[in-house]
């Protein structure tokens, strides 16, 4: 039954959603709205499951004094700290003269935002290093990739250090590469992926694909 019930549910839901997609009848649309609402609720519940799993793994590592345990402890402190502050502010237990969610906003603005921005900004350094170490013209394909990459990079930015014609030339080359070469390749990939998704979807709806059950 551990296998049959999930497969039956998947098949039924898949068929109902497919039916609703092609049929404008009131019943099919009502079923569709209901199932989509359930999916949305499952997503929200998945957040809770995710938090539960994160707490379980982190506490295990903290108690085992894993080398990363101080980071896990910090993670738990931030997780429950931010959650508690949010709940206390929503229920008016703590208040600030600076507004309704002043403490939450402070953490978001002063800690979360700078940390996440910094992490993303570090990419500039790693890309520069990777460009030096990994981009080698070992084959015709790699050489084409490198050349196209360099041309797109030059066409993407203003070039005030060069005559305007040079900037315009690189912008035109970049436009051509993106609008024709890239778009043609992307379209082929999108069509291929769409057909693959359709085939996988059909296999799931027909109960042939069971990898989501870890089989």
């Amino acid at each position: 039954m551990k296998r049959e019930i999930p497969i039956a549910l998947t098949v039924i839901c898949g068929l109902l959603i497919t039916w609703a997609f092609f049929s404008p009848s009131e019943l099919s649309q009502a079923v569709n709205v209901e199932l989509t609402a359930w999916a949305s609720i499952f997503f929200a519940v998945a957040f809770l499951l995710g938090i539960g799993n994160l707490v379980r793994i982190s506490l295990k590592q903290i108690s085992a004094r894993h080398p990363d345990w101080p980071y896990k402890a910090l993670l738990m402190l931030m997780l429950f700290g931010y959650l508690s502050i949010g709940l206390l502010e929503i229920h008016g237990v703590i208040e600030s003269e600076y507004g309704d969610k002043a403490y939450q906003d402070w953490i978001y603005e002063r800690i979360f935002k700078p940390l996440q921005s910094t992490m993303f900004a570090l990419l500039a350094f790693y890309i520069a290093s990777a460009a030096f170490r990994a981009f080698r013209a070992r084959s015709m394909e790699a050489t084409l990739l490198l050349t196209a990459g360099a041309l797109v990079m030059l066409g993407q930015v203003p070039l005030p250090i060069a005559p305007p014609e040079v900037g315009a030339f690189f912008a035109r080359v970049q436009g051509f590469l993106m609008a024709y070469v890239n778009a043609a390749g992307q379209s082929a990939i999108i069509m291929g992926a769409a057909l693959g998704t359709l085939a996988t979807g059909l296999r799931i709806v027909l109960g042939l694909e069971r990898s989501y059950l870890s089989e």
């Binding site: 709205v33 979360f112 935002k113 981009f135 993407q156």
Partner: protein, 291 residues
Amino acid sequence: MAQATDLDRRWIFLAMGVLVVGLFASGVSSPMPVSRYVSDYYDTIEALPEGSVVMLSADFDPASAAELFPTYQATIHHLMRRGIRVVNVATWPAAPPYTRKAFDAIAPAYGREYGTDWVELGFKPGDDVAMAQIGQSIRTTYPRDDRDGTAIDQLPLMSEVGDSFEGIELLLTMSAGYPGILEWIAQAGGRYDMTMLAATTAVQTPDLFAYYPTQLAGFCGGATGATQYLQLVANSAGTATIMDQAPLDELLAVKEKNQKRMVIQMWGHLLIIALIVLGNVLYFRGRKAVA
């Protein structure tokens, strides 16, 4: 080959760091020619009749805000200036603090009021499922607004919006990845025949060319697209009746900052190209020596 791998990567980090910090301090900036994609983004908004309703989805977080938030701010200026009303949603949980801040700073300067000229429905979990749900029934998806929990039918703007995007003329997304523009195209653009515009991170921009201009009327790609759009909005700002000059001054400052960023990006790109060339020269020299 050995020389290439022996170079301590911290020298590369240092070169990039010095370049970025030095150029920021120098304050050199440069305007950019406007591409047809950005021009179409601007023109599509310009073509909307006054009083139209659009949906603006914030699908980003602080990691991509440097690229997307300037476009978000400029888009709000553009929409509010033209008297276009906005239903504001988010599919990324970290986006709403940005959206509220931006609307509260900009919209009142044009004499716009919450509830009548813009509504804030907030974040909805579920990725593409949430998008599909908005298309099916915006009232089931968002029974209340995110600002103070008002039932959305009590908001005057929402009385003009039906379910399944009825009454919404245009869908705009500021998209940093998944879920974002590609999911909106699948769930709303194709299914409900919505006109769509997008601002995306540079890394996502190549995905969009295959959808332009049929499914996507225009787009601003990365910091480059943001700078171009900021120029268009800032240059036409003089035609607006604005009650408070401060947000407009901020927009002009953001435009200046982005034009500086583009010069920094140019030198960054040149450094990367130089490193690729240097890496290859050392690689082929090493190979020749081995042979």
